[in-house]
């Protein structure tokens, strides 16, 4: 039992931190520009695919460095020539644009790389178990994922709290309209924030690709979850996004690892149902079955009872 718990926690941590890498970029973009970027997970997917192609030629580590850069530049270009144009038509148009972008990127990925799963591998260097606990191995690569995510988190924290640009960004988060009055080149800042946000997503893709498999549907798998995190955490709150990422990561991980379900609950209560009962499906639901749904359940509940999210201050 205890080993299940420990591994579920570790896996939840890996997922949660990975989700945070996506959510942090999304939060930055939303805070600054007021755009919920529907295509954010698509940049994550692009990161994985670019890294895969690069790794074929130059190895994993080159991909780790260059793929996020390419994704970031692509993101900046899309902001400059796409999003900025749509901006005049209002927030709904922007949301719809990024929605279309997500659709388009998925098709483009299939066009360039084909519909099948790519054999994007973890690097040789990290192909060993980091430690073995109760006979189960925890791979070094997962440890590497945790390390990268945490260092990104720390770096981001440092930049946001210590550097000049970070202070401007923070000001923009809390007082979105005043930064322009201070004489900063807001379009330029927007482009950079979008570029950095998408590059972070790309980085997440690079390190997640080998573990979560690299295929054209990988954006859709994470896309709405990341949305959920940003909303649950409170739109515009990085701390909220961090907490929500870990919360969702752990929640899902525990739900999958546990094999509890309604039958157990009913046994506990001493209730029995026959197989032919019309609500039979409901009474046999198990936690692993509903694990993918939990984030969305949480989302709806949070939005109904606390529309600003856990840590959000701004009304959306």
């Amino acid at each position: 039992m205890i080993e299940v718990f420990i591994f579920a926690t570790l896996n939840g941590l890996v997922t949660g931190l990975l989700l945070f890498m996506l959510a942090s970029g999304l939060t930055l973009i939303f805070s600054m520009m007021g755009v919920l970027n529907f295509a954010h997970a698509s940049f994550y997917m692009l990161g994985a695919y670019f890294a895969y192609s690069i790794s074929l030629q130059f190895g994993y580590w080159t991909g780790l460095i260059f793929a996020p850069l390419i994704v970031g530049v692509l993101g900046a270009v899309i902001e400059r020539y796409g999003l900025r144009k749509v901006h005049q038509s209002g927030h709904v148009a922007e949301l719809v644009f990024t929605f279309g972008l997500a659709f388009l990127i998925e098709e483009a990925v299939q066009f360039f790389w084909g519909p099948d799963t790519k054999g994007y591998q973890t690097p040789e260097l990290l192909n060993f178990p980091l430690f073995t606990l109760f006979g189960q191995e925890f791979s070094a690569y997962r440890g590497f994922m945790i390390a990268i995510s945490i260092s990104i988190f720390m770096g981001l924290y440092y930049v946001l709290t210590r550097s000049r640009i970070g202070i401007i960004i923070q000001a923009a988060i809390t007082h979105p309209n005043t930064v322009a009055n201070l004489g900063h080149n807001v379009p330029m800042i927007f482009m950079c924030v979008f570029g950095v946000g998408t590059a972070l997503a790309g980085l997440a893709g690079v390190i997640a690709g080998p573990v979560l498999t690299t295929f054209p549907g990988m954006a859709a798998v994470l896309g709405s979850i990341v949305f959920v995190i940003v909303v649950i955490g409170g739109l515009g709150s990085l701390a909220g996004a961090f907490i929500a990422s870990l919360l969702i990561g752990l929640l899902q991980s525990y739900a999958i690892a546990s094999d509890l379900g309604m039958p157990d609950l009913l046994n506990l209560l001493g209730v029995e149902f026959e197989r032919s009962h019309p609500l039979h499906d409901l009474w046999t639901i198990t936690l692993p079955q509903i694990a993918p749904v939990l984030p969305f359940l949480l989302l709806v509940l949070v939005l109904i009872f606390r529309p600003t999210g856990l840590m959000g201050k701004r009304e959306q």
Binding site: S89, H91, V96, F97, P278, F296, Q316
Partner: protein, 409 residues
């Protein structure tokens, strides 16, 4: 009065004549798809275009309507219910309405991002539940019914898709009419007011939430009717009918067609359904083209195709529209060549053997095919750009207001 009725008479006649013109199996099946898509897209526009509520989960009401409709078909088959299947879409509508009553009761508090996110959450919840609750939704395989068991309707037993078409046509006509009339009622007009400025609406005596709720329910009802039509036509439903992909498709239709114009979603439904069915016969890449078209529409035609047509209203009323004909043609020719050449290149890059594009044999191995395509595309691109200034000038001239205030609405 006559002037108001003309479009409706035309619409009705078109619905009746189309199956005579396209009476092949493919034609009829396409028309049935069109009918379903039109109702679905119009119902979506009630939310987004008229009411300002961006939903990422409209397929929920469509799908639930469809599932209940199939269950009704099954009940008819087992003689637990006894009525003609022509009423099935109404069952779908009621199911959509009930779902909307429930979900709308908590989701219409706010519009904007909160509404959009709740709709996304609900959509994912319902889609996931549909896979879990197998006895109702049939799991991955879905559920199926048989429309031929019901009592014959004037001797028709609905073995043929063409017989279904006429039911669908009647329902489409009724649904379109009622959705149009809704926009002319106090509740419909207030939906526009709340879309524009929910705050002010509260100060003229209306609860923005109630106004949204009413539109939301009406929209759920008509989406359910579309789902019921789907059930009648295909006789089976799977969880795909209520998932995010279907929700996304209806957003695409409404947006490409043009939000805020009643006719917009109809145009969008027709364009996308035609692309869906016809283009997919020719190329595997059709979704890529749809994606490109969608993104370009959002960027350059924020009011969709209908908005583009309506842009010409001023020139039309001033009688200067004909001045635009020639400049349009001059731009459209190179632009058309550019599009075709680009498509040819894209197809070429994906082909493994010689393909025939507009009758021309193109070989992916041959440098000639590639260079012709590249040269044509580049040349046409620059030619198009060269024509743009004259088009802009012509546009400005045609749209200069000549007389004292022409009325626009």
């Amino acid at each position: 009065m006559i002037k108001k009725l003309t479009p409706w008479i035309g619409y009705g006649i078109a619905l009746l004549i189309l199956p005579q013109l396209f009476d092949s199996v493919l034609g009829i099946s396409l028309l049935n798809q069109l009918a379903i898509a039109i109702v679905f897209a119009l119902s979506y526009n009630m939310l987004l275009g008229q009411g300002g509520m961006l939903s990422f989960g409209h397929a929920v009401y469509y799908g639930l309507g469809g599932f209940l409709a199939v269950h009704a078909l099954i009940k008819i088959e087992y003689e637990e219910m006894y009525f003609s299947i022509i009423y099935i879409p109404f069952i779908g509508g009621l199911s959509g309405l009930i779902a909307a009553l429930f979900i709308g009761s908590f989701s219409t508090h706010k519009a904007g991002t909160v509404f959009a996110m709740i709709s996304l959450g609900i959509a994912e919840l319902v889609a996931a539940s549909s896979l879990i609750l197998e006895s109702f939704f049939g799991g991955e395989a879905g559920i199926s019914g048989d429309r031929t068991y019901g009592p014959p309707f004037f001797g028709i037993e609905f073995f043929q898709d063409s017989e279904i078409y006429y039911i669908a046509a009647v329902w489409v006509f009724i649904a379109t009419l009622f959705m149009y009339l809704f926009t002319k009622t106090p509740a419909g007009r207030l939906a526009n007011a709340v879309r524009d400025n929910p705050e002010r609406a509260e100060f003229i005596g209306y609860s923005a939430r109630w106004v949204r709720f009413i539109s939301f329910c009406a929209s759920g009802f008509f989406a359910g009717i579309a789902g019921g039509l789907f059930a009648l036509n295909y006789e089976f439903l799977t969880s795909e009918n209520l998932n995010a992909v279907t929700s996304g498709r209806v957003l695409l239709m409404a947006y490409i067609g043009g939000l805020g114009y009643f006719i917009g979603p109809i145009i969008g439904a027709v364009v996308l359904t035609l692309m869906n069915t016809l283009l997919s016969n020719y190329t595997e890449l059709w979704l890529l083209y749809v994606g490109v078209m969608f993104v370009l529409t959002v960027m350059f035609l924020p009011r969709g195709f209908a908005g583009f047509i309506m842009m010409h209203q001023l020139a039309w009323t001033q009688g200067t529209l004909n001045q635009l004909f020639k400049p349009y043609l001059i731009t459209a020719l190179p632009a058309g060549v550019f599009v075709l050449a680009t498509v040819a290149l894209i197809e070429l890059s994906h082909a493994e053997e010689t393909l025939h594009f507009l009758g021309m044999p193109l070989n992916p191995e041959s440098a000639i095919s590639w260079s012709i395509g590249l040269i044509l595309a580049t040349a046409a691109f620059y030619a198009t750009r060269r024509t743009l200034p004259q088009l802009r000038d012509a546009w400005d001239t045609a749209n200069t207001i000549s007389e004292e205030e022409g009325e626009s609405s």
